[in-house]
């Protein structure tokens, strides 16, 4: 995937390895990965369970730290940041979409979407405007006051996407965003992600094991046993 002609890479990984210790045995999850992701890319990373897809996504999000190597995302080298600085950085640059939606059940759809904005200096009115815009974008403007338990799985995930984009992050990371959805809802979410990439120019990295989902991305890369398959 490394393309010398590319400008403005949003993600740049250099010799990244990640090793876990399980029962006294060292398990290599990521093996010496080096690649860049240019701005505005919609990339799908595929691979079987345990191939290291989610670990790679978490490393890019600053949720997990590599054992060695450097990770530069949105112009910031992540491996030197403290937990607090990492959280601050993540609030500015990363929108994260979870497989299991992970909405806060005691907050309404609008309040869930507003949550990341609590970390900004926006006024109440500005926050409300951002929330409305995000929910309108995902087609849930009429469900603002519904609690997660009052929404279908597909709608919950759309709220999750709205929450990921509401603070206008540099990049959206989606971990199996359609893994818990039926075909129709999954298509809706993938269409939404493709629109965000196409119309708003968002850089999106999606991890999936579903080939149909991956087909919606501009680029597909396979991760096998910790190694990223390079384009032929």
């Amino acid at each position: 995937m490394s393309q010398p002609a590319m400008i403005d890479p949003v993600v740049s990984l250099h010799n990244v390895t990640k090793t876990y210790s399980r029962g006294g045995t060292e398990v290599s999850v990521l093996k010496d990965l080096s690649f860049v992701i240019p701005a505005g890319t919609f990339l799908a990373i595929m691979g079987p369970s345990g191939s290291g897809k989610s670990t790679l996504l978490n490393v890019m999000a600053g949720i997990d730290r590599p054992t060695s190597g450097s990770v530069v995302v949105a112009g910031t080298r992540l491996d030197g940041l403290s937990e607090g600085d990492m959280a601050r950085w993540r609030a500015r640059h990363i929108g994260y979409v979870f497989q299991t939606y992970n909405l806060i059940p005691v907050l309404t759809a609008a309040e869930n979407v507003e949550l990341p904005l609590a970390l900004t200096h926006l006024s109440r009115r500005e926050r409300a405007d951002h929330v409305k815009t995000a929910l309108r974008l995902v087609g849930l403007a009429d469900r603002m006051d519904h609690y997660p338990r009052q929404l279908s799985g597909g709608q919950e995930q759309r709220v999750g996407v709205a929450r990921a984009i509401v603070s206008d992050p540099t990049m959206i990371l989606a971990d199996e965003p359609t893994g818990n959805l039926d075909r129709e809802s999954a298509d809706d979410i993938l269409t939404l992600l493709a629109r965000l990439n196409r119309e708003l120019g968002k850089t999106i990295v999606m991890v999936t094991h579903d080939p149909r989902a991956a087909e919606r991305a501009q680029m597909i890369r396979h991760l096998e046993k910790g190694l990223l398959e390079m384009p032929p």
């Binding site: 978490n58 999000a61 949720i63 997990d64 937990e83 607090g84 959280a87 601050r88 993540r90 609030a91 500015r92 990363i94 994260y96 979870f98 992970n102 806060i104 005691v106 907050l107 309040e111 507003e114 949550l115 990341p116 904005l117 609590a118 970390l119 109440r124 929450r163």
Partner: protein, 388 residues
């Protein structure tokens, strides 16, 4: 605002658990409040004591008697303006369970010595005129339904025999901690005369003298002068200012008071454990949500604020419910204690309310510490991987 909403909704998320936790805390606050009332009651006399009253008792023991003859010698000591004396007058009404505080007082000096007594002039004169008359506090009158003119049949314990006293006055007290409104006062002379036939060896003896100092007199000098007057006599005296005398009684109950203080501390510990348990359960259940929040960019301090806020809300809820219960409970408590030996004031002071609230705030903070530390140490990944 979003975080505040989240804190409030998290607090009420499990209504049954919340109700039980607040109920548990309220019971602790109630018990703590009642203990404080008891302690306040013990100390109220010390605070309320008059500056110009000196108490003189037997140097060896309060239970030993002093000769009546000391009265004249006390009266001429420089700085002494008035000398009053009295005895305990132990009685039972109907049966032993219906006893109350009763005292035989020299009525000629009683009202001047204790201006705390609020009584109509007519009742005061009626009492002074009737040697078989007695004065009762309004709480005692209310307890047994006694009214002016009623004849009260009593069985003497310190002064053997049956007594029939006529209620000539029902008083209120400006200062119930000193002049209890659940007590009875009768003529010392009448009690003394009965002793001539029932216990002749105890005639003309008093339990205590109360010397009122003259304006401008130095109480310390007068105290020293009184005890010096009776030094090396067969009944030496111990004289103290009223405040010191009452404080001495409180100090003698020191072990009991210490135990009550310890008990208060234990109760607060129980409250903290109740809250820690509830919070720990809540935080464990929401660990994944906290992981999600960290993913969104929230920092440990935000999560600590959420947990601390929730802990304080629940603790204050417990405090408010407990205080709401404390007011009626204090009245019931006062009546129950009145059924025993004495009737106290048992008033809930602003200090008690403040203490209950302050202690529960402290409990709220302490209870939040462990869950807050856990959340601070938890990495984002640990939070996201948690399966509650």
């Amino acid at each position: 605002m979003t975080l505040l909403r989240l804190m409030l909704r998290n607090t009420i998320r499990r209504p049954v658990r919340l109700t039980l936790t607040i109920g548990g805390l309220a019971m602790v606050v109630l018990a703590f409040g009642l203990l404080r009332l008891t302690l306040d009651e013990w100390h109220s006399g010390v605070k309320a004591a008059a500056n110009n009253r000196l108490i003189t008792v037997h140097a060896m023991s309060d239970s030993l008697q002093l000769p009546l003859a000391y009265k004249e010698r006390l009266a001429v000591i420089p700085g002494v303006q008035l000398v009053h004396y009295g005895n305990v007058f132990g009685v039972e009404y109907r049966d032993a369970k219906e006893s109350f505080g009763a005292f035989a007082e020299q009525m000629g000096t009683f009202f001047e010595t204790y201006p705390e007594i609020l009584l109509s002039e007519g009742e005061r004169l009626a009492l002074l005129k009737d040697r078989s008359g007695c004065l009762i506090g309004w709480k005692l009158a209310a307890r047994f339904g006694w009214k002016l003119g009623d004849v009260i049949p009593l069985k003497g314990t310190t002064h053997p025999g049956n007594w029939e006293l006529v209620v000539r006055g029902i008083f209120h007290s400006k200062n119930p901690a000193i002049m209890g409104e659940g007590e009875l006062y009768m003529h010392w002379q009448v009690a003394n005369e009965r002793l001539k036939t029932t216990a002749p060896d105890r005639v003309d003896q008093v339990g205590w003298y109360v010397a009122t100092t003259a304006p401008g007199a130095n109480p310390r000098t007068v105290v020293a002068a009184i005890d010096a007057t009776f030094a090396n006599s067969f009944a030496e005296t111990r004289t103290e200012r009223e405040q010191a005398y009452i404080a001495g009684w409180v100090a003698r109950a020191g072990a009991l008071l210490d135990a009550l203080h310890w008990l208060s501390g234990v109760m607060n510990g129980i409250a903290a454990l109740v809250l820690v348990n509830a919070l720990a359960m809540a935080v464990r259940e929401r660990t994944r949500e906290y992981g999600v929040m960290k993913t969104l960019g929230f920092q440990p301090r935000h999560l600590v604020a959420l947990v601390l806020g929730e802990s304080l809300l629940v603790a204050l809820g417990g405090a408010l419910v407990g205080l709401a219960l404390l007011y009626p409970a204090a009245r019931i408590y006062a009546v129950m204690v009145a059924g025993g030996k004495t009737v106290g004031t048992y008033e809930i002071t602003a200090e008690t309310v403040g203490l209950c609230l302050g202690v529960m705030v402290l409990v709220g903070v302490v209870a939040a510490l462990w869950p807050a530390v856990r959340l601070s140490r938890m990495t984002t990944l640990e939070g996201l991987r948690h399966r509650g």
